[in-house]
Symmetry: D2
C-alpha cells in the first residue's frame, strides 16, 4: 500500500472526478472504493443483464472493471492535471464469474513518466468468501495536460 | 473466408442461438452480422451510456464485442453441441472509439480440438469510412457437450 | 509455497529431467533452482552474447527463462507422465536487464486439468539487490502421456 | 508494403546497423532480410542447441526473432536518430517449430509518436512450404535521441 508516493496531493479527488465521468461504470452499477497511491478498488453487483451464454458475468464486463481499477491505480501516481489512457491489456479468465458482487483490484507494478504497468485481479464475492475469476496485466499511458 | 470448413452443418443456427442468450450483447445493442466458417462479425451503435472519461466508447465495451466475434468464429468450427469459453485475450487500443457504430470482426487463426486461437479487429464506422480502433489476439476453449 | 499439493510424488525428478533436455537452457547457461509445488525458479548469468542494441539482455532471453519457470511451475502440479506446452504468454519489460545474473520465478495462479495459468517475474540481481525487469502472464497446456 | 512512408531517408541503414549490434541475433544465427517502411523480415536456421523438451525450437527463440522483426518494423517509421524499445508483447504458439529455418515477419499496425503497435508471425519453412508456428502482438516505444 505504502510502496508508492503520489505526486498530486489531490489525486483522490482527481480519480473520483474522472471515475464519475465514466458513463459505462454508472451503466453497470460500479462503484469506486479504495483509492490509495498505486492501488484502486472498484466493485459492482452481479447483474442478469450483463451475462454470457452460461449465465455468468461476461468477460468484457470483468475486463471493464479491471481496466478502470488498473487505469486509476496508474493515474493516482501521475502529476496534477494528467489523465490516463489504456494502451493495452491481457486478461486470463480463471473461474466462472458468479456471486453477489465482483471486486476489481488494480495496482501499479512499475510507474513511469509516459508508460505505467499495472496488474489487476477480479474477485467474485459470495457471502464473505472471495474467488479469483480474472487476472489482468495492463499498460497505461500518461496523457499530459 | 473459405479457408476453413465447418464440422457442424448447423453452425450458423448454433452460433445465432448462443448469441441470443448473451444478455450483455442485448444491453449494449449489439447485433450478430456475418457468420461463416471461422469468421464472425458483430456490430453495435455508438452509445453515450457506455463511454470512458474522454467521451469515447470504453475499452471494455470494444473488448466485449471483439471477444464475442472471436468466440463465435472459434465456435463456428467446433463439433455439434460444443460451446466456447474465453481462456484469455490481449487487446491493443489504437484510436479513439468514436463514430456512428463499431464493427468487430473475429477470425480463426488456428483451430484446435481443445484450444482455438483467434484474432479480432474493431473498426469505427463513420459515414462509409472505417478506422481501426482496437485489435485482439485471443485463446478460446472448446467445451464439449 | 504450500498453496498447492503435487499429484505426482516424483514431480521434482520429472521437472529436473525435463529441464535437462532443454538445449536452449544449456546454451544460455541457465540453472534450475527451486522446484516446489506450483513454483519454480531458474537463473542465468548475464552474458555478452545474448544482448540487444543497448547492451542489456535481450527480451527474448528474459522471456525464455520466465517461460521455463512458468512451464515447470505448471508441470509440478500435473499428473505423473504429463508434460507441458506453452499455449501463449504476455510479457511486460520494466527495466533494463543488467546485473550479474537474472532470476526467473514462475508460480501457478490457477491450475487446471487441461489449462494452467501462471505468472512469472524476472529479477536482475546485482550484489544482493533485486530489481524487477520483466513480468509474464502465461497459459500452459497439459500434454497427457 | 507501401502502406507507410518512412520519415528517415536512411532508415534501412539505421535498422541494419542496429541489428548488427544485437549479439543475441548473432548467437542464434539470425539474419536481417527485408527492411521496408513498416515491415521487416528476419530468419534463422533450425538449431539443435536452441530447443525445448520435445526437440522443437524453444518458445523464447521464436519470440526473440519475432520481437526483433516487430521492433525494427516500428523503428523503420521513426525519425532519424531514434531507437526502439519493447514495452510488451504477447505470443501465441500454434504449431511445433520444426523445419529447415524460421522466418519472422513483423509489420506495423499503428505507428505513433511515442508508442507503435506491431504484429508479427513466425513461419517454419520446410522445402518451400510455410507453416505458421507463432503469432505476436507487440507494443514498441520510440526512444528519442
Amino acid at each position: 500500500m505504502a510502496r508508492f508516493k503520489a505526486q498530486d496531493p489531490d489525486f483522490v479527488a482527481a480519480v473520483r472526478e474522472s471515475f464519475d465521468s465514466l458513463t459505462l461504470m454508472r451503466t453497470v452499477g460500479a462503484r469506486l472504493l479504495t483509492v490509495v497511491p498505486g492501488e484502486v478498488e472498484v466493485d459492482m453487483p452481479f447483474r442478469d443483464d450483463l451475462t454470457q451464454h452460461h449465465g455468468f458475468l461476461a468477460a468484457g464486463v470483468l475486463t471493464a472493471i479491471a481496466d478502470v481499477a488498473c487505469g486509476y491505480a496508474a493515474m493516482s501516481l501521475m502529476p496534477p492535471g494528467a489523465s490516463v489512457l489504456t494502451i493495452e491489456y491481457k486478461v486470463n479468465f480463471l473461474s466462472p464469474a458468479e456471486g453477489e458482487r465482483m471486486l476489481a483490484r488494480g495496482r501499479v507494478i512499475r510507474p513511469g513518466r509516459t508508460v505505467t504497468v499495472c496488474a489487476g485481479d477480479v474477485l467474485a464475492i459470495v457471502a464473505r468468501t472471495e474467488k479469483l475469476v480474472a487476472t489482468m496485466l495492463a499498460t497505461m499511458a500518461t496523457v499530459n495536460p
